[in-house]
Symmetry: C2
Subunit: 144 residues, 2 copies
DNA sequence: CTCAGTGCAAAGGATTTGCATGCCG
DNA sequence: CGGCATGCAAATCCTTTGCACTGAG
């Protein structure tokens, strides 16, 4: 699936008039290898040769192209993960103490009921839903 | 319930060694009167006599005391609402175009199943859950 | 040669903080 | 009176932007 991932990333960037450069590929690789959304400092930590400004710029471009997704939790840093359709649908455990985020999933049945309830709400309010977010906020095992 | 609200706010602040001043009360009033979380510019807009820095400071204090809750969505501003236990449990429609946030609720049955699934997840990961967040992200009727 | 991608350094903007003043207890 | 709350202005810090350089086509 990794090969596919890069092919998809490349296609989406091209569709947006952008190239799939080594730097951008490196960012996608880092995100794909992680089981949690990463902040830019964390990304730079893993790949010291990446320039901060370029990381910001490239992640913004990758986000516009629909390759990565930016999330804001409770601390001061944005975090990035692969776009929803490039991973499996999942949710986040957010530690309000250290800010760390971990992925998790819920049973398909629950997810399904949720979808149904949400689409009803959206229809009622004339809201065009694109996605939903379900996060659990609390304290992670380490901070506890 | 408004009287109770202020009594509760006052008690919680006192427990945190803080006073319930007119400015703080004004902020709580504004949030209680709104059917959506508000940004600080929005709060200042409603009450022009509030100083920006004091608003920031007081909201931080109110948050520490458990009276208000800060949420970060997709745009650059934080938004504030009354703490979960001072309102009814609800969720948010987040417009990714204008950043506006509207409250909504889901049927108790769905909410209940969700709680059950989440507490199972939390237990499995040694995560101490404090609350959950369920948001619908998309485009509001106005921006559509 | 051209033009996008990159790195560095400087600018931006929401939020925070230092400090002098005012007010409640 | 004492100490916290307030307002103003300056400082912070994540993020964005300007600009010159480099490399791919």
């Amino acid at each position: 699936m990794t090969a596919d991932l890069h092919a998809t990333a490349s296609t989406r960037l091209r569709a947006d008039g952008q190239r799939y450069t080594p730097r951008r590929r490196a960012l996608v690789d880092l995100l794909a290898d992680s089981d949690q959304p990463l902040t830019i400092p964390q990304l730079l930590e893993h790949r010291k040769d990446l320039a901060q400004s370029s990381a910001y710029r490239n992640l913004a471009i990758l986000e516009r192209a629909g390759v990565v997704h930016r999330i804001v939790t409770t601390d001061e840093f944005s975090r990035y993960e692969l776009a929803e359709d490039l991973t499996e649908h999942h949710h986040h455990l957010i530690c309000s103490s250290c800010g760390d985020v971990t992925d998790f999933t819920v049973p398909a049945a629950v997810e399904h009921d949720l979808e149904a309830a949400l689409s009803k709400v959206a229809k009622r309010s004339g809201f065009r839903a694109r996605s939903h977010r379900l996060d659990l906020v609390g304290t992670c095992a380490t901070c506890e």
